[in-house]
Symmetry: C2
Subunit: 386 residues, 2 copies
């Protein structure tokens, strides 16, 4: 690890870790949740509002930005930070998940994936090398190696094949990354050359495949490691089991990132199993559908019982929305189709997620994570209160 990337575990409580991750654009406290800014903006909220709710790092989607406005354009604009005005750390994903779920006629081969843009049908190719170059042009702080993320369920053979290909692609991703880092690709515009690269562990729900994947991926000596291929439809207990098995196998001195997870209780459960980083569209997407997370579980603001409810969404919450808005008002805005409803709901949900992580970190520092977790899960009901 160089100065561009430094991770210190500052406290432990069981398997849960409290850490500090130093990146070129700032230091973030872990365990951390990364709001998703797919196309260079978190839907419905501004950069100022992201600061207001306490976001320290954003995730942006390589696939989307490559297609529009294009990574070359963003590089010429000085990289994602200058382009978007978000000056704190950014993680870009590998595009692997989106290319399989969104693109038309995606064909995967050993070299990479050939597909057509979901926007205009134009032909594109992503390879382990091109995905490194694209992320170099975007100038994110953390880049991800290209991976093949199978859907769920898959057979053991399919999972093994995707995992093995991910290892081979990991090798090529790492090689290309080191080539750029060594300045041996001067044709690639790098607005923020001090980047880190994470490898991705695959293997589906098969323990022995996860073992092989960890072994191979760690052998490539990435800056840190992510667990991919979960939160894709498998039962939540299966996910917890795979995380519990896999996380402790990853290097103790590097942050561990569980990709695409999850509900608030999933975050707490996964921290307890040794995870440090999370991203998920749930708080933002569900906000736009009228679902608000509270300490007692999610509520649906559309519900008639909120028509004259003068309480804020969560009476224990200190977010900008709860400080000013009643459930009755938010329901009115939502039913009226006012886009401000999406904004206010998103601010609340992001604050809830980020505040939950603050409470998690505090509990680990105080050595009270176990009791925090118990109380959190006792109060929080996964089932939406209708």
């Amino acid at each position: 690890m160089s100065v561009r990337f430094r991770f210190d575990v500052t406290a432990r409580d069981g398997l849960a870790r409290r850490g500090r991750l130093v990146l070129p654009h700032g230091t973030i406290d872990t365990p951390a949740f990364m709001p998703v800014g797919t196309r260079g903006a978190v839907k419905g909220v501004t950069v100022e509002q992201l600061h207001d709710v306490g976001a320290e790092i954003l995730l942006a989607n390589t696939y989307h930005l490559h297609l529009r406005p294009g990574d070359h354009l963003i590089a010429r604009a000085g990289g994602l930070h200058r382009f978007t005005g978000w000056q704190l750390p950014i993680l870009t994903d590998s595009g692997g998940y989106q290319v399989f779920s969104l693109a038309a006629r995606a064909k995967v081969g050993e070299d990479g994936v050939v597909f057509r843009s979901h926007i205009d049908g134009s032909p594109h190719t992503l390879t382990p090398e091109s995905v490194v170059d694209i992320q170099a042009r975007l100038g994110s702080d953390i880049t991800m190696a290209f991976d093949q993320c199978p859907s769920w369920p898959v057979t053991r053979d399919e999972a093994a094949a995707a995992m093995e290909r991910t290892l081979r692609w990991g090798r090529r991703s790492r090689d290309r990354f080191l080539e750029l880092a060594a300045g041996r690709a001067p044709d690639v515009l790098r607005p923020s050359p001090e980047q880190a690269q994470f490898g991705i562990v695959q293997g589906g729900t098969y323990i022995e495949l996860r073992d092989l994947s960890v072994q191979g991926t760690v052998g490539l000596d990435f800056d840190a490691y992510a667990i991919g291929g979960l939160s894709v439809g498998e039962p939540v207990e299966t996910m917890y089991d795979i995380v519990a098995h896999t996380a402790p196998l990853l290097p103790d001195d590097r942050p561990r990132y569980l990709m695409g997870t999850g509900m608030p209780d999933d975050l707490v459960e996964s921290v307890a199993r040794g995870i440090d980083l999370f991203d998920c569209v749930l708080p933002t997407r569900n906000a736009r559908n009228g679902q608000l997370f509270t300490r007692k579980g999610p509520i649906n603001i559309k519900n008639a019982r909120f028509a004259e409810d003068q309480d804020p969404p969560d009476p224990d919450c200190g977010c900008p929305t709860c400080r000013r808005c009643s459930r009755a008002y938010l329901r009115h805005l939502f039913l009226s189709g006012e886009m401000t409803a999406a904004t206010l709901n998103t601010l609340h949900n992001l604050y809830f997620y980020l505040d939950t992580m603050r409470r998690v970190r505090k509990a680990i520092e105080f050595g009270t994570f176990d009791s925090f977790k118990r109380e959190f899960l006792e109060t929080y009901s996964r089932r939406q209160t209708l």
Copy 2:
């Protein structure tokens, strides 16, 4: 005028007036522009963001709020200020304009207007008295008398009939308002009982009808007066002429409100003719369509020439959007369909309007309004730069 409503002209420059308007929820500096928060929210922006761009007063639509969520519900919630979280002054319109432009099967008679909701087809009636009661329940600072606003063009006879009916409705509006103010309608919930009431001058583009309307409306002794029935399609020079003729006829010691106007240059031209208050959907609606106002005129952010333009929308602007976002980024967000584009564009346009009014006020204070106006109009081109 009671303490609930006080207007002082603090400086004059030609016919332009610099004033201070004291209302139950705060004092506003005039000439003032009122952003439109149709359904209790300015589309795409939060209350905090409205404070950021310097809004001092909002307009809310009586017609929309009466239909959804209903004025009774808002009254039970403590009025519009408590319901929306906006604690500064609010003006509610009379509903007259919306009922003719939006409602289905509106039938106007001497008693009022019978119509069906554009939302669910439910039958409703608005009368001069019910419009006073609805606005009492909403608890706005400034309420408007019920008026009949004809479309354009109209014959002299049609304009005269609408103007005369507006006078009769004005009489009934005023009577009902004074009845409520005197506490003689205890069944009407009044969350913010210290309200003001403005009368509306009609008469289309007919000078002699405007004269009669002013005479009759001022005779009803409202707290202040608005010029209605303009910005409905007539040539802009005609509007300027009617404003130039009508404004000086209105009492000098009361604010004069030009309803529904207009483009930035219309505001400056109308201040020069003695107007103190404005409202218009242009800055917010056009923002959502990608039109940004600048000192040199409007630009359309969709235009291909902005694809790699790293300048802010208006290099001379100090708004939250211009401080952080390039035209290239705003274009990307707009073309991607990101709702944040609407938010950022709206913040810019509102700031531009409100900042223009600040500059107008400053110029009047310094006695330099004439040269300000000349320079503003020389620089500002009404025609959109494509």
